[in-house]
Each structure stands twice: as structure tokens, then as C-alpha cells.
């Protein structure tokens, strides 16, 4: 399993000028998070690589999840390097549940051996420990994998730090007009590092969506003078036009088995949701209503979708089985604008855009109790995307008039801004697996 991870640490074959790196600022903290001490890893045979500070990356990942509260480096009461140096009683008095120790060792072959150990203070023993081999280029990836191991071991939830995110950036010319604007489809690590460009276009790019195995992106591009849905392999760069019917071709969403795309087409008069079978390009119509039906999101069982419909006059969320001409069940009633659903990996919750007046915020709906709660402050929050670990939601927001990405923990208490130094960034999609 570990080996597979290491060999799987590939680079996108698409060469590109590195865009400005995402910068993550924690804007609000969470008092109830689990205390953990990440001891700065010891570097042997090499100076610490500042851009690949493994223990700092782990600390940042765990903090971002909202479920952990890593001790600031300057507040560490001790810096053990081996299990035998850990003084359990001291850490217990300090109120620490877990500590992480580790090392990065430069080997004769020029590669790095990265070791980490997760130590449970109450149990007074090591509960997890692995060794990885990495190059200077894969050190950050290894750090994210370690974050996932720790996160999963303690919370029982799947990890999501070692995968990738995709998003769209737009740079406009100096005059701020649309002419001369450049749209890019970009892929980066989940903390915004290592951004790479998959597509550059003078026309809009929209709605990137990861295939379940993280190998392909579906998206909408207007490069050929109309909305057109493509899928593109991130490793080979090979891409296919999947849908270019007359009218809308939008909102692609991969079925959980990766064999189909739910898409929005208006070829039959007005926007409805169809399922495109990727093997034979056959289409199956799911909704048939004169209003706008769009933004399908699959439930994990692949049998139903949540979508946006204006059939009640204003956009609201509906749940409908994808087969058998099922009747849609209306899910949202509060407020005049509820749209753009993202279903959690466990199928229990739906994150969506909730608009009231001129304020658009991210909310979560509990599919069982049908109760909802608002997580963000707005005023122009959109494109919510559940992280595969179910603990955070990525979304697009405005900060001082600039389009940025932000993350919020599902309890709403941990908020972070991911900001580019230039340009607008929008429409985040978080891969469930790293290909």
C-alpha cells in the first residue's frame, strides 16, 4: 500500500508556467479541536528544504481540517526525536492527546527516507509508524500522505490531503475588460502548491469535476464558440469532446462508478438533466420540465441525484431517482435561492448555495432530518465542494472584491482563505483519490 502511494506520486505531464501559488490564511480558529503536537522533523544529511518542510505541512493540513489544533512550534514543551525520548507524563499534564515525531534522511542515492510515528499519550505507546522514500519533488506529497494517515487513524474518516484540487482562474487585462482575459483550468495539491495548467483559453472554462479515481477532469469549455463538455486525462493530457449539442452543455457530474456523466442540455428546448453514458455516448433523459433543471450531484449509491430546479418559480434543490421517471422530492424551502448541491461522501449531507436577499452563503442540509444550517457569511459565496473526508467544504468567495477560494469546516467554526496573489480563482473541485 505504501509502495503504491510512492510510485503513484506522479507529475502532471502538462508543462506550464507556474501560476502564483495559493496562499492559505487561517481566518478563524476552532477551540474544540483535538490537541496534537507535531515535533519538527529532524533532517539528517541535508538541510531542511524550506519548500518541503514535512512536519510544517502536516501541521498545516491537520489545522485546516478543523478537527485538530496543532501546537505552535514556539509553544512546544519538548522536542523528542525518538520514542524513548517521549516523556508521557509531561505531555499528559500539558493536555496533549497525540504527538508526532519523525525524520527526513538524505540517502546515498539522493533520495529521502521519511519516517514518522504517531504516539498516543494516554495509551503511552506508538499507534502508527511508517517509512517512505521520496525525492525532493515528492516530499510534499509524502507529507500530505502522512497527514492522511494521522487524520484517518484518529478520526476514523478517510483522508483527503494527499489528493488534488482543480479550479478555474481568470486573469483580465489591465483595463479590467473581458477582451484579453485568459481562463485557465488548473490542478494543484490540496494546499494549493504545485499548480499546473491543464487548459488555457481566451473563452470561458467552467465547472471542473474530478472522476472518482482522480484520473480525469470533466469540464465545460467555450473554446469552439459554444458550450462544450470535455473530459481530459490529467496524466496524458488526452482529451475528448463529450457533448456539444445545440444550446447548453453544462454542469458535468461523474457517476460514482465513473462510467457516466450527469449533464445539463437544452437541446430539447430548455435546460434538463441527462445522463451521458461514456462508453457509447448514449443519452438518457432524467428530468423533463419547462423550467430550468441543472447542477446535478450524485448520491454515492449512484441511484439518485440532487439538482437545482426553478420549477417552483425560484431555484430550489430536488432529489430524484435517475431511472423510472421518478417524481422529484423538493428538499429546500427556506429562502428564495437554493442551488449548486455537493453531496458528502457518506451521502448524508448536501452542501449548497443559500441566497437570501442579496446575500449568498454556503449551507448544509441534513438529508435525513431535512434541517439545514448556514456555514459562511457571504455575501457572494458559491460553488461548494465537499472534501472527500467529509470534514470540510471548499467554496468560492469574494474577498475585498476579489474572487478567492475558501474552506470551511462542516461545523462552520474553522475558516480559511486560499488566495492567489493575482487573478480570480473559482469553482474548486476536490479529487477523492490521487491518480
Amino acid at each position: 500500500m505504501i509502495k503504491k502511494f510512492i510510485t503513484g506520486l506522479l507529475f502532471l505531464s502538462f508543462t506550464s508556467v507556474a501560476q502564483a501559488v495559493l496562499k492559505i490564511d487561517i481566518t478563524e480558529g476552532y477551540e474544540g479541536a483535538l490537541p496534537i503536537a507535531i515535533i519538527p522533523f529532524q533532517w539528517n544529511g541535508s538541510k531542511k528544504i524550506e519548500d518541503a518542510d514535512v512536519s510544517a505541512i502536516i501541521s498545516s493540513d491537520l489545522a485546516r481540517s478543523g478537527k485538530f489544533s496543532p501546537v505552535a512550534e514556539k509553544d512546544l514543551i519538548a522536542r523528542p526525536q525518538t520514542p524513548s525520548e517521549v516523556h508521557f507524563k509531561t505531555w499528559r499534564i500539558a493536555g496533549m492527546d497525540h504527538i508526532v515525531i519523525g525524520s527526513v534522511t538524505l540517502q546515498a542515492d539522493g533520495k529521502y527516507q521519511v519516517q514518522f510515528r504517531l504516539i498516543d499519550i494516554l495509551k503511552a505507546k506508538q499507534v502508527l509508524g511508517y517509512s517512505f522514500t521520496a525525492t525532493d519533488k515528492t516530499l510534499r506529497d509524502v507529507a500530505h500522505q502522512i497527514s492522511d494517515y494521522i487524520f484517518t487513524h484518529i478520526t476514523g474518516l478517510p483522508g483527503a490531503f494527499g489528493t488534488r484540487i482543480a479550479y478555474v482562474t481568470v486573469q483580465r487585462d489591465n483595463k479590467g475588460g473581458d477582451k484579453g482575459s485568459v481562463s485557465r483550468l488548473q490542478v494543484s495539491d490540496t494546499d494549493g502548491y504545485n499548480p499546473q495548467t491543464l487548459l488555457t483559453s481566451a473563452q470561458p472554462i467552467m465547472s471542473p469535476a474530478w472522476s472518482p479515481d482522480g484520473s480525469e477532469l470533466a469540464y465545460v469549455s467555450f473554446e469552439n464558440g459554444q458550450a462544450e463538455i470535455f473530459t481530459q486525462n490529467i496524466r496524458t493530457g488526452a482529451r475528448q469532446s463529450r457533448s456539444r449539442y445545440k444550446g447548453l452543455n453544462g454542469a458535468p457530474a461523474w457517476s460514482p462508478d465513473g462510467k457516466k456523466l450527469a449533464i445539463t442540455l437544452s437541446k430539447d428546448g430548455n435546460p434538463d438533466i441527462y445522463i451521458l453514458n461514456l462508453n457509447d455516448n448514449s443519452l438518457q433523459r432524467v428530468t423533463n420540465h419547462w423550467s430550468i433543471d441543472t447542477e446535478a450531484a450524485w448520491l454515492p449509491d449512484g441511484k439518485s441525484i440532487v439538482f437545482t430546479s426553478s420549477r417552483s418559480g425560484k431555484p430550489q434543490l430536488y432529489l430524484q431517482a435517475v431511472t423510472g421517471n421518478a417524481r422529484p422530492e423538493r428538499l429546500t424551502y427556506e429562502g428564495g435561492y437554493n442551488a449548486s448541491a455537493s453531496v458528502s461522501a457518506d451521502g448524508k449531507y448536501v452542501a449548497y448555495v443559500h441566497g437570501e436577499g442579496n446575500i449568498y452563503r454556503i449551507a448544509i442540509l441534513d438529508l435525513e432530518t431535512k434541517s439545514s444550517r448556514i456555514l459562511t457569511d457571504g455575501p457572494l459565496d458559491e460553488s461548494p465542494e465537499y472534501a472527500p473526508n467529509n470534514s470540510m467544504i471548499l467554496f468560492a468567495s469574494q474577498d475585498k472584491g476579489k474572487a478567492v477560494l475558501a474552506a470551511v469546516s462542516v461545523d462552520g467554526r474553522q475558516k480559511q482563505r486560499l488566495s492567489f496573489t493575482e487573478g480570480e480563482v473559482r469553482e474548486p473541485s476536490w479529487a477523492a483519490a490521487r491518480y
Partner: protein
């Protein structure tokens, strides 16, 4: 056909100030109510046939000659239709304008136009693409009623992806809720 159309042009330009027509706001693809409001009745005008009819309207020429769309003094020089928030209804202020363009297409069978639908930044991107397409289709429908041919009019929706104003105030957003009439 052409004669009939031009006659209605002139009649409508007379009543343009008094809420001439009212599109049905509920059904985007459905029928547009073509009854002239205010009891105005359309009369015939001698010698109005042909594409050369010229009438003044609000300081702008009304003419459907081939080059009329390039004449800054012609009513057809205005090529943007603005909309209310979350609405695809062609507002009363723009019905006449859209009809003029529809009649231009009817008179110039070789003319081709692309209707580009846009939305402001509020709400979700894919919903806005759908909304902006509905706006463009509403404009197209009005043009069809004026005699334009279905194959003369292409519709594309850009949603909120191509704003012309970049502020977050109502003034900027109102400029972005639009359909651009782009002759090819």
C-alpha cells in the same frame, strides 16, 4: 408578408410610448402576447411597402435597410437588452428594440445574428448559464414573432462568465444582466 410587417412597424412605433406590448413573463419559450395595449389600432400607410420605409423614433431612424445596423443614428444601433434580476422577461423598455431587430432580420433574409445571454454574478454559475440562455431565447422568440427566421438566429449563453462591468454594486450588476445582439 413584408408589407404586413412594415405596416405593423409603423403602427407600433406610434404607440411605443404607451406600453405597446407585454411579453408573457411566465413562459419563456411560449407565446408572447402581441396585442397592442392602450387600444391602439394599426392602420395602413400608403407606399410603406419595401425595405426603404424610414421613420423617426425618439431621435433615431427606423429603417431596415441592409446597412441600418451600422448606422449610429438608427434605432438598430442599440444592440443590448437589459434584464431584471433572476428574470428572463424582456422588459417593456426593450420590447420595441427587440422587435426592430426582428423585423430587420425579416427584411434581410441573409442577415445572421447571435444572441449572447449574460447574467450578473449573483447566484450559481451553472444556473446563471441556464438563466442567461432563457434570456437569449426570450429575445429570439420576440424576433421570430416579427418574422425573423429560426435559422437566422443563434443563441449562446455565457452566464456570468463575461461581465462588462466589474463592480459588485447594483449598477454594475444591472449592466451585466443582458443579451447582446451580435450581427455576424
Amino acid at each position: 408578408m413584408k408589407k404586413l410587417l412594415l405596416i405593423s412597424v409603423l403602427a407600433l412605433s406610434v404607440v411605443a410610448c404607451s406600453q405597446a406590448t407585454k411579453p408573457d413573463s411566465e413562459d419563456i419559450a411560449g407565446s408572447i402576447d402581441m396585442q397592442e395595449a392602450g387600444g391602439a389600432t394599426a392602420g395602413t400607410i400608403e407606399g410603406a411597402e419595401g425595405a426603404g420605409g424610414t421613420e423617426l423614433e425618439g431621435g433615431k431612424l427606423v429603417s431596415y435597410e441592409e446597412n441600418a445596423i451600422n448606422d449610429p443614428n438608427n434605432v438598430l444601433s442599440q444592440k443590448v437588452v437589459y434584464f431584471a434580476f433572476d428574470s428572463n422577461k424582456v422588459g417593456d423598455d426593450y420590447v420595441e428594440l427587440v422587435k426592430h431587430h426582428g423585423r430587420y432580420l425579416a427584411f434581410n433574409a441573409n442577415a445572421r445574428v447571435r444572441l449572447e445571454g449574460h447574467a450578473d454574478e449573483r447566484g450559481t454559475r451553472e444556473y446563471n448559464v441556464a438563466l442567461a440562455e432563457a434570456r437569449a431565447r426570450a429575445v429570439k422568440q420576440l424576433m421570430l414573432y416579427e418574422g425573423a427566421g429560426n435559422d437566422q438566429i443563434a443563441v449562446i449563453s455565457y452566464g456570468e462568465e463575461k461581465p462588462v462591468a466589474f463592480g459588485h454594486d447594483e449598477e454594475s450588476m444591472s449592466l451585466n444582466r443582458r443579451v447582446e445582439i451580435v450581427y455576424q
